[in-house]
Amino acid sequence: MQVEKQTVLSGIRLNLNAEVGGFALRAELDLPATGITAIFGHSGSGKTTLLRCIAGLQSAKGELSVRGQSWQSGRGSLPVHKRPLAYVFQEASLFPHLSVRKNLEYGYSRIGESERRIGFDEAVEWLGLSALLERMPGKLSGGERQRVAIARALLTSPEVLLMDEPLSALDYRSKQEILPYLERLHQKLSIPVLYVTHSADEVARLADYLVVMEKGGVVAAGELKDTLAQLDQPVRLNDEMGVVLESVVVERDSHWQLALARFDGEYGLWVPDQGIEVGSAVRLRVLASDVSLARQRYEDQSTQNLLPAVVLEFTEDQAPGVMLVRLQVGDTAFLSKITARSLAHLQLQRGSEVWLQVKSVAVIE
């Protein structure tokens, strides 16, 4: 049956067109039912407009269904307050006349008891708010306010969580304070999270799935690691190409302050030891410009990050004389930025076996 198939396969299915003051949005997407989908783009790319259309805060033409439930079709559109969603705005936007507790209760009390999947005390504990409950929003710091806003949103037990640059209005310290909570959403929530951002760090750190927007349209969408490694529609985060990989810390070398991060079971990379315990999952970001290639493995390179790789494809970079190479190590794709001369010198072709040397790795989780 069509409906059931949709429920199983898809979290959010949409085909929306909107016009807002001369700006046109056109988006057709099929997004996963769990995990964090980052909607990435520069300001004016339409990412916030897309989120507002999904919430119903902005009127759009087209179709939208969430977890098999139609929210908008040719026949009509659910008003915002009837959509089982939660929305975290860029500014916390707490009700200034209500205490933290009353703010949290606002949405919580408006859903039926049988629909409550997240308990009041549970949300308070997750976001560390128990000491703040009786305070007024005016007396909270920026980070505290945003934590309250996230808890308030979650307390409606939504089917989907929409977040519009929830960190961009915060200073560095408040960001660091909130990020761990957002990471935990991964594990705690079985609902899709759409996370609008223009920050490459947040994408690398939080996203499972990536949608890249430009000039009101979707230019790339897919699993984060696939999207970042694609060459036909290169995705640049902060103008840098690179891949993100999931790994596990298996060893720590306190003498050299390094940690060994293992991915795909058998491959390891030495990364800066940031005090992450053995057995913890970490995300690594490897920029294409930090990956060089060699035909042979030299003995003196044994202490460095060398991985056996196979060349998948290559293409010209934006800069003249520079080539982008996509390689495979185990199940993981890497990108390397080398000069056209090196490429010729190494006589690389599709399927060539090479040694991939990683000069620098950023640990992002």
């Binding site: 307050h81 929305y87 006349h97 007024m136």
Partner: protein, 225 residues
């Protein structure tokens, strides 16, 4: 000499009733003016503001014609068996509602404008229906606006004279309100009576306005935290 309290009570009754009606009628008008982008917004805002600039006698004159036995509204009230409104208390209420309308609509519209969209959007994403949003978000956040509107409408109705004279006349117990009573006392050289009423008015108005400013000051402090 016995002091005649009747005009005082009549005035309070008139002002109270007018304020009540105006809060009910003025709130939707102010809400519409604050939210709409309709081309009729400016024309309607101008009509609402007319009593601010017109002499009360102009308003009273046309209301008299409108509500009188030959006027369209007068014909209608007669057909309904209600008689005519001029020179009755009900007529005074109708006139006062028109006369004080801008004093309710403008502070409310300013308060609604200042509210912006964000809080309403937040409430909507937290499952509040439009009416729910109005009651739980707009009313508390626009409370200083509501308070200002109510006080101004009450005080302005207490102070009206021209419209009352045109449409209500000077019937004791029916249309003889404070301002008219003071005028009467002065005309008949009863300065002592006039002093009591006029001085009382000054005191009353001062106390009311002072209370309003104090309350609004405290409320905006509360919200800012």
């Amino acid at each position: 000499m016995e002091f005649d309290w009747q005009p005082v009570w009549l005035t309070l009754k008139l002002a109270g009733l007018t304020t009540l009606i105006l809060m009910i009628v003025g709130t939707p008008i102010a809400w519409w003016l604050a939210r709409t982008k309709h081309w009729l917004k400016q024309p309607i805002a101008s009509v609402v503001a007319l009593p601010l600039v017109l002499p009360p006698t102009v308003l009273g004159f046309y209301l008299l014609l409108l509500l009188g036995p030959q006027g369209p509204v007068g014909q209608m009230t007669q057909a309904l068996g209600l008689g005519t409104l001029p020179f009755t208390f009900a007529g005074l209420v109708v006139a006062s509602v028109f006369y004080s309308l801008p004093f309710v609509v403008q502070p409310l519209q300013n308060a609604f404008d200042a509210l912006g969209d964000r809080m309403l959007e937040v409430a909507a994403t937290l499952r509040a229906s439009p009416w729910d949003r109005f009651v739980t978000v707009v009313v508390p956040l626009a409370r200083p606006g509501f308070l200002t509107a109510a006080v101004l409408s009450f005080a302005h109705t207490v102070g009206e004279f021209g419209v009352v004279l045109m449409i209500g006349g000077n019937i004791p117990g029916e249309t003889k309100v404070l301002s008219v009573a003071i005028y009467d006392h002065v005309e008949t050289l009863e300065y002592e009576q006039a002093h009591i009423l006029a001085g009382g008015m000054i005191l009353f108005s001062f106390v009311v306005l002072m209370a309003l400013y104090l309350l609004n000051g405290r409320m905006s402090r509360d919200v800012r935290g």
